[in-house]
Point group: C2
Chain length 352, copies 2
């Protein structure tokens, strides 16, 4: 392949884009000279280089990133493969990632595999063919997944809100146990002593980690861990309502605080307590999880919630990938801190 | 730039990927011959071509899409620029778009401009530098926006869930008026005669179009258009509750059906009627808009809603872009049909 074949092919392209050949003709130099001038390579007389750059600018000729990346052996692109079909968890992650990479002029290929291993393999194959400088995998949930076989041509890879079964792979996930501990300690700090935990199905690692955080916080505070106050189920408002019906119907001791596994469960719980004419937060304090504004903000009362800081998780994935592309070796599972966002549902002393 | 420089640059690349030079050495041919064999170009003896392909396969050598695209003058990439920071409206659109393009082995660069014109210009510049074959613009709302100046190097461009001020540009948006007419006619078909419309702020084109659809459906059915039953405001549950308080507090005639501008308004309206002990759908029927499962499905009762068919909108954008890349001229604003999704909130004869 010669510069000539490149430029003539470019000339053939249907877009009105000026070609390297146009620049050469107007500058009165060879195509090779234009290539040297634009890539700042080879030995050229200063005036020649300047004339070429001038003409190129005048024509609006864009030095072709494709050709340049062949010179650099870097494509300034990374691939993002999501198994969440770009859902509400991946969205903020993707935003944080894209912002960090865009600042480095690295463009992101997005591919949606939605739990289809064969489709995922095709995406990886295609991305490798495009010589991406790195890969990011994200998923609907942060559980462990089979690692990606990148064959001979491995590239820096980051799993974010996802984990790999390869212990050496870099994985960034929220600190679910720490977040749940934060929620529980918040209710304890408000004087709540009988805390229930209504959450999702236990086959989610996040559910098991949040349960542990809730129990440890109670134990550390010298409060009882009451088995019937731990209610795994599912992630819906309907389940939140049902769990409250269970907890508050029987004659036994009633909770005075609810640590919920997500904002939908918390919202359902708040509605059910409203129907039972139990005041939130006056009689029962509630903390949600995810800090999903559209649910937490619209609930009555609005929900204090745990924020997973997903945008920062994505930004950190971007920064880590850049370090790996620059040659650093990174690996292991890193759990990034969650934070507590106060609204009206937890503190009995706030007036809604 | 010669094949030699390409291969040696590839050789320099830090990844273990086999290079065109490796293939040439093992096949005992020149790099130019490998290039011809892999690109099926030039005149080669059949045995030679076969030997090269064999060796390449054995080495796991990927014919480099970058180099190939220089030959084809096509990059098999398109750029997607979102001003919705990848929100819940753009995500299904992106999914539909990506699925259609992936089937054609066209990869999607995603860029997030979030209403920052300068950032958008940088993204476009960068994407043009990567010689994308097409561009897709999407936004938080389907209103008209300044068209993108692609300079000399214009490429096929589609606006989806967005419009351009360039009348020749292709724009795909949902048929908001038709969707609102669908919702209104549904309530009329259930025997409702005093229909109110609670919706978002009028500076949204969608709000004005949905208002028109609501009014036309009433007029066509010979039902009165009551001014105080039209309540533009904002998109929140809180506003839905407030609007119901207004409509049902005074002594005037009360609505027996609510056409709501989105599911959050509809959900707030349902909660407010519940608090007023007015039965939904027994006494008042409600239809939402957007068919956002997490809101419509969790509402009490679950909401009948209008689906914007965003995934199909994205798929159609992908199909249109491919036709334009293949040389067809497409343009104008196309409004794709919405559909009615039945849940419990509208039909007084269904039991929840």
């Amino acid at each position: 392949m010669s510069s000539d074949s490149i430029s003539s092919d470019r000339g053939k392209s249907t877009r009105g884009a000026p070609t390297i050949r146009d620049v050469a003709r107007l500058a009165g130099v060879s195509i090779g000279t234009v290539s040297k001038a634009m890539n700042n390579s080879g030995s050229l007389r200063k005036e020649t280089r300047e004339r070429v750059v001038e003409v190129a600018a005048a024509l609006g000729f864009r030095p072709n990133d494709l050709a340049q990346s062949l010179h650099r052996g870097q494509s300034f692109t990374v691939g993002l493969i999501s198994n969440d079909s770009f859902g509400r968890f991946t969205m903020p992650i993707v935003e944080g990632l894209e912002a960090v990479l865009a600042a480095r002029r690295i463009a992101v290929f997005m591919c949606n595999a939605t739990d289809d291993a064969e489709l995922e393999r095709q995406h990886v194959e295609q991305l490798m063919g495009k010589r991406v400088d790195g890969l990011v995998f994200t998923a609907r949930r942060a559980d462990r997944r089979p690692h990606i076989d990148l064959g001979v041509a491995g590239v820096p890879t980051v799993y974010v809100f996802a984990q790999s079964d390869d212990p050496n792979a870099l994985a960034l996930v929220p600190d679910d146990e720490g977040g749940s501990r934060l929620a529980t300690e918040h209710l304890i700090s408000l004087g709540r002593k009988r805390l229930a935990h209504i959450t999702g199905p236990e086959h989610f690692e996040a559910v098991r980690l949040r349960r542990d955080g809730y129990r440890r916080a109670l134990t550390d505070a010298g409060l009882p861990v009451i088995d019937r106050f731990y209610k795994p189920g599912d992630w819906s408002e309907a389940y939140g309502r049902q769990a409250v019906a269970d907890l508050f119907s029987d004659d036994g001791e009633k909770p005075d605080g609810l640590v919920c596994g997500n904002d939908q469960i918390a919202r359902g719980a708040a509605d059910a307590l409203h129907d039972l004419e139990i005041d939130v937060p006056g009689e029962v304090s509630i903390v949600g999880f995810d800090n999903w504004e559209v649910i937490a903000g619209a609930a009555r009362p609005p929900l204090t919630s745990i924020d997973l800081n997903l945008r920062e998780l994505g930004a950190e994935a971007g920064r880590s990938l850049i370090r790996m592309i620059d040659g650093e070796k990174l690996g292991g599972v890193h759990r990034l801190p969650c934070s507590l966002v106060l609204r009206a549902s937890s503190d009995p002393n706030t007036k809604n």
